[in-house]
Each structure stands twice: as C-alpha cells, then as structure tokens.
Symmetry: C2
C-alpha cells in the first residue's frame, strides 16, 4: 500500500511538473507581450504591435491546456489536500497570466490608432517604464512560485504600489495635456486606457504572488495591500 | 461497492448544492451591487455608494468560502471527471462574480468624486441603462447555470454585443463633451472609466455563460463572439 501511494505520488509529481512547464512557457510569452506592447507604442512600430496581437492566441491555448491537464490530473491522481491546493493554484496562476496577455493585446491594438495622432510628449517612455516594472514583477512572481519563496512573493506584492504611483502620475499628466489643448483629448483617452491596463496587469501579478504566499503559508496575506490608485478620488481641475 | 459509490455520489451532490447556494447568494449580492452603483451615480446618492463599497467585503468573503469548500469537496469526495468539471466551473463562476463585485465597488467609489462636479447631460441615465442590461444578463446567466440551459447561456453571450455598443456610443459622447468644453474633461474621464468597467462586467458575465455552455456540451463555444468594443480603432477628432 505504501509502495502504491508512493507510485501515485510520483505520477502526480510528474503531471504537476508538466503543467508547471506550461505555466513557465506562458510566463515567458506574457513577459515578452508586456514589453513588446509597450515598445510598439513608444517606437510607433505597427509590425511589433501586430506580433503581440497575433501571439495572444498561443497564450490563450496554453491557458486552455493547463486547465484541461489540471482537471485530468485531479481526476486520475486523486491527490491529497495539499497537492490539490497546488493544482488549484496552478489554475489560478494560468488564469491571471491569460488576463495579463489580454491586456497586452489590448494595449498593442491601440498602437495602430495612436500612430495616426501626434505623439504626446514624454508619455511613451513613461508607459514603457511602467510596463518594464510590471514585467520584472511578473518574472519575480514566477520565480517565487518555482522556488516556493513567500518572501520574494511579498516583495512583489509591495512593489505593486510603485506601479500604482506611476499610474497616478500619468493620470494627472493626461488631464493637464487635455486641458492645455483639446486636440490632445483623443490620444490622451487612449493613452490613459493603456496606463490603466498596465496598472491592472500589476494587480494580476499581485494575485499570482498571493497564490505563492497561500501555497507556502496556507493563507492569503491578511493585511490588505494599501491600494495606490487614488484617481477614484482625483478632482484636479474641470469642476 | 455500487452501494458505496452511490453514497459517495449523494454526499458529493449535497456538498455541491451547498456550494451552489453560496454562488446564488453571491449572485444576488452582485446583481444588487451593479444596480445600486449605477443608481448612486445617476441620483448622486453618496449613502447608496457607500453601501456598495462596504458590501463588497461580503462578496469577497463568499468567494473565499466557495474556493475553500470546493477544494474540501474535491479532497474528500474524489469526484468523477464529470463532477470534477462541475466543481472547477463553480470556482470560475465565483471568481467572475467577485470581479464584477469589484468593478461595482470601483464604480461606486467614483460617485463621491462626481457629485463634486457639474453633471454631464444624459450620461447618468445612459450608464444606468447599461448597468441594467448587464444585471439582467447576469441574472439569466445564473438561471442558465442552475437549469444547465446552454441555449439561454448562448443568448446571454450574444447580448453582450449590445452592451459593447452602448459603451461605444458613450465613448463617442464623452469625446464630444470634452472637446466642447475643457471643464468637462475630468468628469468625462471618470465617467468613461465607469462605462468601460460596466463593459468589462459584461465580459465577465459572458465568461459565466461560457462555463454553462462548457458544462452542458463539453467545450467552450468555438466561434469567438464578435467583439463589439471598437474604440481601440476610434480616431474621431483630436489628431
């Protein structure tokens, strides 16, 4: 019996490793999508934008595969409560990666529109910096997952505040540009969207980091992370 | 052996019913949150907005409970592949409900800001209509889930296109109001946010409807639903 349990457990480990390999592949593609989407915007590069939009299909397919494989593993291996938690986390992480991929695709789609308008000074590099910060967070969150490192995960979670602050600062800039010159309004509406999407990507990376903490400690972090998006309370100008 | 299997199956059914009852409770709270958030905005009712913001905690707690109960059921009952799919769907539906609750909370938070500004003509009622459409879609999606009715689910999925069209129309109005008078810019930025959040709620309702179709037919709808948000390609004015 003990021998059989070990056998089952090894088969489970093998399945889980295969699924985690898919997650890592997804992670790599999503990291590239974030960076390329921001780059396509900053460099007004429509070919690169198209590459991001087309590449999202592969990420979606990987998410679907992870879900199917995870369900199959649960059905065949009947894992223990602990292993079960791991599989459920994998499903959640895959779902978050898929959403970040979607946001990157949406960002890239707007490149085609924005190249038709005059560039808004300094926003390209600022958006690129924000995207890079999220990409590094994602890389660290996935490293924390592989190494089951709750401290690195907590560090990622805290860094999301910086992304929120970058967003707040951009939001104020957009308001200013629009008020200075109404011809900036359409471009700023699109750019604001992109900035908000990157801020949301940060939230999804945070959700991945929280799954790592949950896996290592058994509970979701208690103190809610202080939310840095203050624009819901922003009333600068235009009353 | 057969007798035991039946016993296990009944215990599983009981667990699943308990979890589905939580989902229905969540669904009711989320429907109310959508409507109340839009109402608080249209009526400039800060007390109602506060109720929505505070109430989101309960929705989050229900989501956590559903996840824990689902994991417990999987661990104890070792369900068949089919039952397993049902439990995984419940987790996904709960996650989508939690997200819709979050969007409602974010919408309500902005009521406090918007009451400090002059109202933008006709947008309150338009946003309320959009929120009502999403609320009815959600009600139908949950009915489709309970009745395992893939046709009703497909109908919900198609109706999301109307929500997308309402959003497109509002987006164009906001651009116009901002260009007409820069004093409208800040309010329109917030209102645009709200409209986009409602459009995203529609996407999450669609995801619930797709889970119902998956449960009934074994696969996610093949033809991607035509996306109705065309604003990524919008270049009206302001070049």
């Amino acid at each position: 019996m003990h021998h059989e349990e070990q056998h089952i457990s090894k088969a489970f480990d093998r399945d889980l490793e295969a699924i985690q390999a898919q997650i890592m592949k997804m992670g790599g593609l999503v990291e590239a999508a974030i960076v390329d989407a921001a780059e396509s915007l900053a460099m007004r590069d429509e070919d690169l934008a198209k590459k991001v939009v087309d590449g999202d299909k592969v990420i979606d397919e990987l998410d679907f595969t992870v879900n199917e494989e995870a369900a199959r593993t649960l059905a065949i291996r009947q894992p223990s409560a602990f292993d079960l938690r791991t599989v459920l986390s994998v499903i959640k992480i895959s779902n978050n990666l898929e959403r970040i991929g979607d946001y990157s695709k949406n960002m890239a789609k707007r490149t085609g529109v924005l190249v038709q308008m005059s560039p808004i000074e300094e926003t390209g590099p600022a958006i690129r910096r924000m995207a890079r910060a999220v990409e590094v967070m994602l890389k660290d969150a996935l490293d924390a997952y592989v190494q089951r490192d709750p401290e690195l995960a907590e560090d990622v979670r805290q860094r999301d505040l910086e992304v929120d602050q970058m967003y707040n600062s951009l939001f104020r800039n957009f308001l200013t540009y629009m008020m200075e010159d109404p011809r900036n309004i359409t471009a700023c509406m699109h750019l604001h969207f992109i900035a908000k999407n990157i801020e949301r990507m940060g939230d999804h990376v945070t959700a991945i980091a929280e799954q790592v903490i949950y896996l290592s400690t058994g509970h979701i972090p208690e103190d809610p992370r202080p939310k840095g998006d203050r624009t819901a309370f922003e009333t600068t100008g235009g009353h």
